[in-house]
Amino acid sequence: MRVLVCIKRVPAPGARINVTEDGLAVDTTNLGFTTSPHEECALEAGLQLVEEHGGSATALTLGPPEAEEQLRYAASLGVTDAALIPTDGTDWDPQRTARAIGHVIAELEAVGGEFDVILFGNESADSGGFQVGVRVARALGRPMITGAKGLTMDGTTARVQREIDGTQEVYELRLPAIIGVKEGINLPRYPTMKGRLASRKLGVQIHEAVGEPGGQRMVQLVSPPEQESRLVVLGAGPAAADKVVDLLAERGLL
């Protein structure tokens, strides 16, 4: 089974997200970077499919050259091939992103054969456009279901479970298929020492970005207004427990 996972490098902000002076990016001066959480689970799902059915997993990312870090992390988990579509690091609109990714998938398939399963995250953590995977699926003419919280495979069919407002839905997609994964579908593994060593040897293929910009453009990022502090410190240690109970009682919770 050939599996491809599309992952995005995103900053890992802590207590708040600061915006650069020109308002066009997140200020990452003191921040680390990570793989978007839904995509960490997509990676795990992809690796589990390969463990169960054989084959190999490839990771693909479009982003600044530094996104190689996320590809190497994927390799430390078990991915054996990696493709990077380098950008200038600016924010790409979803249509342009999907066009470039779709183009490179076609290139990868021309050389290595069709991917039976292509996994995306449900939405990217930073821009949350809810669409890149769906657009790629349309361009490739493959069925696509997002929001996957469960995934099993029987060789020709993918069985996808997801939850909508307390109802569990099941879909069956003929392979080759594309699936958008949600956090919670699995518990992503951590890299092993052996994996870390292997990841250093990973050959990252560089692919040129092809595709026109789309009709959505970012003008500016704005931090929502911070609320003023309203904090009342009730006390320290177990001695403050009574005051907590007073509060709960005031709210009719006892």
């Binding site: 902000p13 207590a15 809810f130 909508i164 839905e169 704005v222 410190v233 240690g237």
Partner: protein, 322 residues
Amino acid sequence: MILVLVEHDRGVLAPASFEALTFARAFDCEVHAITLGAPADELAPYLGAYGATAVHQAHHDLLVDYGPDASADALVSLVATLKPGALMATGTDRGNEVLAHVAARLDAPFVANVTGENLDASADRWELTRIRWGGSLHERATITADVRLLTVALHAVEPTPAPAPAVATPMPFTPTIDPSAAITIVRDRVKREVGQTLATASVVVGGGRGVGSAEGFEPLEALARELGGVVGCSRAVTNNGWRNHTDQVGQTGTRIGADVYLACGISGAIQHWVGASGAKCIIAINTDAAANMVTKADYAVIGDLHEIVPAITAAIRSRRGV
């Protein structure tokens, strides 16, 4: 004219549809609604109350249960004849999914999760505000297209009936749906047990890395039981395998709306905060008085949660005379 996709499940309306209709009225033009599948035909009068002057009712064998491809085909076929200035839907899982499929078919831009703020639709190029990072950051964005596709972020608009309710004229039609859409129709549905959920519980006792282990949650469980609430957690906890992801509060977890959220040993990273901030009263318990969860909370107790949480449970019991 603006076309609003009304979301429903076998005829049960998704309340967020009223938010989308309210938002559409802000554009000061004619608002039409579309419902997919015959089970939704009964909804027309409710949509009129929110200002829709017509309800396009798509009827088709492939529109009995939800399916993203069948839904998108139906929408595209109506858009082709009606030529609305915009097609809007709810910023729900399904709303975002369906509009992404419509956008892919039309090769048109789609702006997900627009808030009601600072809207400029005076020129061909609309300027909007949308949410990023699950709401931790806003983005001003423009959209240039013949039909603007967008979803309205959940709870960003207060749903309000139209000052002058309309009579929504039902307009049944049979859309053209590619038979291949049948691939992504639900095969099976299981209604889950409905009890207290994290999203709707009135009390949530949340635990973070500070709880230290899976077993460390027992005192939090006991407190939640005492208050008729549920236990929530941070992503650090789920990643450690201490609790199931269904308990996670935050950007990639659940947004809570509790009356009281007790956040124990949680630092209050912005991705956790977006899930917690819907709680009406937040009480933080943390050893670090400078933790973000503490400084943003309404109330705080500084100290070790392993001592404080059992003390609260004991105090409740003694007050109840147990």
